[in-house]
Amino acid sequence: MTILKTFAFCICFFSGFVAFSHPQDELVILEIEHGQLDFPDQKIKAEYDAALKRQRMRQLAAMPSQERFWLFLNAGIKHIIPKGLDHILFVLGLFFSSLVLRSLLWQVTAFTLAHTFTLALAALGIITAPGAIIEPLIALSIVWVAVENCVFKETNKWRPFIVFGFGLLHGLGFAAVLSAFGLPENNLVASLLAFNIGVELGQLIVLFTTAALLWLIRKKSWYRQWVQIPASLLIAMVGIFWFIERVVS
């Protein structure tokens, strides 16, 4: 009943050894003693994002390990499809380099080894790299492989090594995403592994889908002129656009 509950809720402000209050009065007092609240939008948003991450970390830490494994696996896949358009383009860049299965396999293996390596190092906090440098470089790596596809008909010997170097960069990019997502401390290695497996699965899905689509025309004489080169050019253009965009921002 409202008469007895004139003080509808009990707020107990704590200052030094004293504590107590009544809402309306306290609001006045607080405004006077501490100044009015203002609402810096960006700060509130940053605080909210940090809180969201803390919440997710708590949820992750409390999850059964199997559930957590699937969650990270899923996150890894999602980071390629659909969120990782730049990584998709890079992998497509590799695809359009060669129709020789062995060459393609070498490149993909080099890429995977490299990004697994840096992703692990960054996730474990051993290395850090600023996104402002990594992200534009990732864009450039896309341009590089695409342009190379147009210049050379067959991949050259050192291509897997270049791809390995780019893979190191992409691994740092994955690490940034993973760090925003949050890794549970009590389950670091397993979660990292799950995320990485997810990334590989995403990558393989992209490769197999593209291969399936282009299977029938891959041997055509016009394949290089009308598919391989235009597709690579398109990829390179998008890469250039991203590079500019990322440098400017």
Binding site: M1, C10, I11, F13, S21, D25, I32, I44, K45, R54
Partner: protein, 721 residues
């Protein structure tokens, strides 16, 4: 995830939301306040509640509430406890529902739109409650019942509810004749205008002073403080309109008499002249003989309150107020305050001597003054009690401390806690636990919202989103603790200071009061007791945080797992007695000033407020080095609202209870003594206000409270450290 994003949207974009007629009708049909909440444990569906839902729900809630009251009044049957008092308990459901959510969020997760609503609602809500308390028909029914109280065969709880309800009416003037009532109404409206004016004046006075400094004036200040002052200057520069103002703030540093700005400055600045300026500006607020002077306003308020009390048949306003408290008369309050005053003042004098010794040792030639206190007490603290906060914090991660408080209540009452990860409340930092009793039955929901953020009010408090009642089936509560602990940096865990730990236990004590409560009628549940009692359940829990045995059980290093070393614990506990002379003296001086203002008879000549204040303070022998925590001109607790009038003493009264109460546990030699813990639960935490607070205390303690334990805790018992 979608829900979370949606919720972020509410928080961030609320300011930009515009309301059209179309959305308004749409909103009315799906206003979550109008629906039964099928949420787990009745936790409000925060993600569905939008800013524009509040006002219509408030309006509808008030309308429904009045209709329900009318139905009770117009009931053709003769008044019975069931059809009047119990029915009253059932009224205002919608209003309570929206109020609970609204007033919680305006404190803990507000936005400009909510703030605006809050200002608009304030007069509407108070007018609404006036309509109920002044409802003559309603009072007549209550009075009829009360007259027949002995024949109604009521339970003790029902009888107390009837008494309290009737008293609430009587205390707002229901028994007076029409002429007297008109007088009261006139006085009330004058008081209301004056208290509003007091608050506005004070705000203007506080915002009106600023210390604008050059780089060369910053001697002694640490980087964080300088950065904050530069930011304040930058804000002022951004607001400045004239070139003159712009020049004034450009590349400057601004300090203000807000405590968050002033205390660091007084502690760190080596410029004694500037400390004096800022300190003087602070204590002169409302006493500058300008148009925002509060001296006359305060005197008028005190005088009108005295007149009103006399109209109601009380000797003074303090008599009127104290009738409802644990301490029943001004004499009892003065007696308590003076018992503490003398040892506190003695202690303060030795603190002055300690500080003077530091001044002399520095080879400086001045006598300690009020504006030196913060700086020199800090120097004494460093020399005498130095504990390195940075070394302490790694032992006090939030999760460890929470485990500590959970474990404490588990050992006391067998409570268990399960964190619910799938329930999202109003902010991702607000965590949710289900609290279960010893036998596994559900007791309530506890929400802990611990980190500071830009849209949260300062301070720490407990509140509820849903109350407890056994009237129509078992309703269990949803309780929240809101604090302002620093948020963790990056992925590290949140680390607390020991002060934060005590705050956490304190607020958790309030939460226990709200969660363990087990009464029939919601209006008597939880923390509904008198002001000088409700801090007791909170403050007593603080004592467990400082017990070495318990501290060691939860204070483990977050990286190494090492338990806090004994030496560190000993230092920590010793430091709690630091500066107690000052803290108690400034507080007691303000409490006594409050009592003096509210024991006037109303016929005094109060033209000279300063003379009144001076007489009040010199009577008790307050030393020049200390000002009362609040002087008359800025004593907002008692003059800008009425709640603390003749009530500022409450803090220390609760402290008497908690020290004395915890002493009972120590006497048994077991701070978890099961028998005593059970008594504390059944007679204090469960009972709400269903019995007189003093009776509840005696049932728990076996006797009336004594002051001795408090003197010891605060280091005022003459023992040396």
């Amino acid at each position: 995830m979608k829900k979370l994003l949606f919720f972020t949207g509410i928080v961030l974009l609320s300011a930009c939301q515009t309301q059209t007629d179309q959305t308004e009708t749409q909103v009315a049909s799906d206003n979550p306040f109008y629906q039964e909440w099928d949420t787990p444990f009745g936790i409000p569906p925060f993600h569905q509640i939008k800013n524009e839902h509040y006002m219509p729900a408030f309006e509808k809630g008030m309308k429904e509430n009045l209709a329900e009251i009318d139905a009770i009044v117009n009931n053709s049957e003769a008044p019975t406890f069931a059809n009047t008092i119990e029915e009253l308990e059932r009224t205002g459901k919608l209003l309570t529902k929206v109020q609970d959510v609204f007033y919680n969020l305006t404190g803990s997760n507000t936005n400009p739109k909510l703030q605006e609503l809050q200002r608009d609602l304030s007069p509407l809500i108070s007018a609404h409650y006036d309509k109920i308390t002044l409802n003559k028909g309603l009072f007549n029914r209550v009075e009829t019942l009360w007259q027949a109280r002995e024949t109604l065969e009521l339970s003790n709880e029902q009888r107390k509810l009837l008494d309290d309800t009737r008293k609430a009416f009587v205390r707002s003037g229901a028994l007076l004749n029409e002429e007297q009532k008109a007088q009261i109404t006139a006085i009330n409206s004058q008081i209301s205008e004056l208290t509003t004016a007091f608050g506005q004046n004070l705000l203007a006075e506080t915002n009106g002073f600023e210390l604008v400094l050059d780089k060369s004036d910053l001697d002694g200040l640490s980087d964080g403080i300088i950065a904050a002052a530069a930011e304040t200057a930058a804000e002022k520069l951004a607001e400045a309109e004239t070139d003159e103002d712009k020049a004034k703030y450009k590349d400057k540093y601004v300090f203000t008499p807000h405590r968050s700005s002033m205390y660091p400055f007084l502690t760190e600045s080596n410029r004694r002249d500037l400390r004096e300026q800022l300190y003087t500006a602070y204590i002169q607020r409302g006493d500058n003989d300008n148009e925002t002077d509060n001296k006359e306003v305060a005197a008028k308020i005190a005088k009108l309150r005295a007149e009103r009390a006399q109209l109601m048949g009380y000797e003074t306003h303090a008599h009127f107020v104290l009738e409802e408290r644990m301490l029943k008369t001004p004499e009892e309050v003065y007696d308590l305050l003076m018992q503490l005053w003398r040892p506190a003042l003695e202690r303060a004098k030795t603190e002055v001597a300690d500080m003077q010794a530091v001044v002399d040792a520095e080879g400086k030639d001045f006598k300690i003054a009020g504006w030196d206190w913060w700086q020199y007490s800090e120097k004494v603290r460093k020399a005498k009690y130095d504990i390195d906060e940075a070394a302490l914090k790694p032992y006090l991660s939030l999760d460890n401390v929470l485990n500590g408080v959970f474990e404490t209540t588990n050992k006391l009452w067998g409570l268990t806690y399960t964190e619910l990860f799938d329930i999202n409340v109003y902010h991702p930092d607000a965590r949710v636990w289900e609290v279960k009793d010893k036998d596994g039955s559900h007791l309530g929901i506890f929400i802990g919202d611990y980190f500071t953020r830009s849209n949260k009010r300062g301070g720490a408090w407990m509140s509820s989103f849903k109350g407890q009642s056994n009237l129509d089936g078992k309703e269990r509560p949803v309780i929240v603790n809101v604090c302002n602990f620093p948020a963790p940096v990056g992925d590290d865990p949140a680390l607390l200071s020991f002060g934060n730990v005590v705050t956490l236990f304190h607020e958790f004590g309030h939460a226990m009061h709200g969660i363990l409560t087990n009464v029939t009628y919601n209006s008597m549940s939880g923390t509904s007791g008198p002001t000088d009692f409700t801090e007791f359940p909170a403050q007593i829990l603080e004592h467990w945080a400082s017990e070495p045995e318990i501290l060691k059980s939860f204070a483990t290093h977050y990286q190494t797992g090492e338990v806090m070393p004994d030496e560190l614990i000993a230092k920590l506990l010793k430091a709690s007695k630091f500066n107690q002379g000052f803290a108690n003296t400034e507080y007691l001086a303000a409490s006594l000033l409050d009592m003096d203002w509210h024991t006037i008879k109303g016929d005094e000549d109060l033209k000279n407020t300063n003379a009144f204040e001076k007489a009040s303070l010199s009577k008790i022998g307050l030393i020049d080095e200390i000002a009362p925590r609040y002087r008359t001109g800025y004593f907002a607790h008692i003059f800008s609202g009425g709640y603390y009038a003749a009530g500022y003493y409450s803090y220390v009264h609760s402290a008497v209870l908690d020290s004395d109460g915890f002493e009972a546990f120590k006497e048994t030699g077991n701070v978890f003594d099961p028998e005593l813990a059970a008594k504390l639960r059944t007679h204090v935490y469960e009972k709400g206000s269903t019995e007189e607070a003093m009776e509840l205390y005696k049932q728990f303690r076996g006797r009336a409270p004594k002051i001795d334990a408090l003197l010891k805790v605060r280091g005022l018992d003459g023992s040396t450290d």
